[in-house]
Amino acid sequence: MNMAIVGASAGLGRAIAEELAQRGHRLLLVARDARDLEAVGRDLRLRYGATIATLAADLRDLDIERFRAAVFKNMETVDGLFLVAGAGDDDDRGPLPAARAAALMQLNFNAPIAIANAFCDHLAARPKAHLVGIGSVASVRGRGRNMIYGASKRGLEFYFEALRHRLQGTGCKVQFYRLGFMATTMFKGRPGILVAGPEQVARRIVRGLDGRAGDFTLPALWKPIALLLRLLPYSIFRRLDV
């Protein structure tokens, strides 16, 4: 199948690309820096004999019509779209300078929705297609950290639920993953039992392509934590230092 991965140069996106390459899919890797894409592309071609195209695009400055045309220049059809790119900001715990606040919303909300919106008719018309979005456990409950990031991811989750509703009955399966801590550059803490490797998460997501549509929490260890956080009355939640 033809799979496009947005945010494929590092972390989870690169790990998903590797899983898909191993399974023999044709890939279009999208990320900001052509040099990173070039390295990932060479690696996957050499190690898995995969067919790989790359597209350098900056989501902070996204011209969606040009983007859509560039994707179709590389692939005549798209059977899978993985919207993995996202970013946090260490100071996202209070008022941010307007430009940085806008960048967070752009990367985590506006851009993925613009891309999903631009491709959903094409995906729905395919006999079999996948649309995968990435969220975060940071959006389960509003708190004084990752404020705009969490709000954007919550909004994205809402949009993916709406898309799933809209695209049911078509060949396109919509899946959304709320992820716990992952050992990527976005995570600044120490490794521990709650921190998963991106390879491990990528394997679950790619295996999940054969599963049902819906939203999921990964790794599974985070499911009860997310549930507990959601059910906690605010009077108790506000006292927690999470």
Binding site: S9, A10, G11, D33, R35, D36, A39, V40, R42, D43, L46, R47, T184, T185, K188, G189, R190, P191
Partner: protein, 436 residues
């Protein structure tokens, strides 16, 4: 970027610094903020080479991509964070392998170059640096530069075996060797002492793909044991693309006290001697023969949080008899319990701070503590008297004066480093200890 305490493998050296693990090439576009830096690979070195006091360690593990492969010429270009394990799986399918492979597959290509490490047949295959055709180095003041024996040969020579002090190795092109097969026939020849092992190894040199000895110094100072000589054979188990193995991790649990003492080490050594003795000739997979540490992932952690110390030297051949005798006397005098002891044949001219030379290499390992430190200090003196050279990358306690005495080009190394990087941006606990 998180502050943390780093430990060398074996807990012999420690320092407080910070760790950052970039994953995009643009990280190297802009010079990072002031402060000392050091690249880290697997961070599995026995010495504090990948970290230092107040040093920002740049973990290179995410730069682990295969960039080019030439099946006709037998070369591969990889990013520095690529592990030997990953490379082994990739190359095996294409009929090639890396010529020099140390015993732990988790180490990275960048680390192998910076340490100019050796494998199980140094006499035949040389050291890792001999197989590097070209490398890319990053230094905040110089940006990214390509080095080879022809392009900036001085900086290339300083970087191979330069302990990461010249900058961050980003990628390298390696010359490969044809993979002769997937299995190894390993023959164990019993020997009575260190001297006999040296003689047997010289006799067995021709045609051996692997050649090393193992000695039981825990039972007595003679060093009874075996010479292992291995030949690669065509038949062997299928090599997986991605081999799984236990990673050395200094943050994992290690018992607070050492379980390795005189009695347990002697018992373990005796048991190993009995098992190896029975086997005679064994067929093992190439993977297991290359990376024996994979079979015993927990072994080194039995030393507990105090860990162990290792000392390895190249003894010039004419002095080996005298060295073995005097080492035996020191061992009897100091009553230190020993873990592993092993020998290999070495050859090649020694330059700068690289662990090379003509002679016989001997490595010993013992629990860290005052008794072992006293013994190793006495061995430093013995080394200097008999013209031996200690491996800087193995001994976490090796003092600066020992290195100054044993490495004639030590001052030249330092002067050339100073000329290349007057601000001395790249630092480590190792460099600090040795006054480099």
């Amino acid at each position: 970027m998180a502050d943390r305490t780093f430990y060398s493998f074996g807990f012999g050296e420690t320092a407080k610094g910070s760790l950052e693990e970039p994953d995009r090439l643009r990280f190297f576009d802009a010079a990072p903020p002031n402060g000392p830096l050091m690249a880290g690979g697997a961070r599995a070195s026995l010495v504090g080479a990948a970290f230092g006091h107040g040093v920002r360690t740049l973990g290179m593990g995410r730069f682990n991509r295969v960039l080019a492969f030439d099946a006709n010429a037998g070369t591969v270009t990889v990013e520095a964070g690529t592990t030997l394990a990953a490379l082994f799986g990739f190359l095996a399918r294409n009929g090639w392998m890396v010529a020099v492979q140390p015993g732990y597959p988790g180490v990275t290509v960048g680390g192998c170059i910076a340490g100019d490490v050796h494998g199980k047949n140094q006499f035949e295959e040389g050291c890792f640096g001999d197989w590097v055709e070209e490398l890319e180095l990053w230094h905040p003041q110089r940006g990214r530069v390509v080095l080879s024996p022809a392009r900036e040969p001085d900086l290339f020579a300083l970087t191979v075996g330069g302990f990461g002090l010249t900058g961050v190795i980003l990628s390298a092109r390696l010359r490969l060797t044809k993979m002769k097969g997937r299995g190894v026939v390993l023959t164990a020849l019993p020997i009575g002492d260190l001297l006999e092992a040296a003689t047997v190894m010289k006799e067995r040199r021709a045609g051996a793909d692997f050649l090393y000895s193992w000695h039981d110094l825990a039972s007595d100072a003679r060093g009874r044991g075996f010479v292992f000589s291995g030949r690669i054979t065509a038949d062997g188990p299928e090599i997986p693309a991605r081999a799984s193995f236990h990673r050395f991790d200094q943050e994992r649990f290690a018992p607070p006290v050492s379980l390795m003492n005189r009695w347990s080490l002697a018992a373990m050594n005796r048991l190993y001697r009995a098992c190896a003795g029975k086997a005679g000739e064994r067929h093992v997979s190439l993977w297991k023969a290359l990376f024996p540490f994979v079979a015993i992932p927990g072994y080194f952690y039995l030393y507990g949080r105090r860990g162990f110390l290792e000392h390895q030297i190249v003894v010039p051949e004419p002095s080996f008899g005298a060295y073995a005798a005097r080492l035996g006397a020191l061992i009897r005098e100091h009553r230190v319990p020993f873990g592993l002891a092993a020998m290999k044949l070495f050859r090649g001219p020694q330059r700068l701070l690289r662990f090379r030379g003509d002679g016989i290499s001997l490595a010993i390992e013992a629990p860290n503590g005052p008794a072992t430190r006293d013994l190793f200090r006495a061995i430093d003196t013995l080394d200097a008297e008999l013209g031996c050279r200690a491996n800087i990358l193995k001994d976490a306690r090796l003092p600066a004066d020992a290195v100054a005495r044993q490495y004639p080009e030590r001052d030249e190394f330092r002067a050339r480093l100073q000329a290349h990087d007057p601000a001395r941006i790249f630092r480590s606990a190792l460099a600090e200890r040795l006054g480099l």
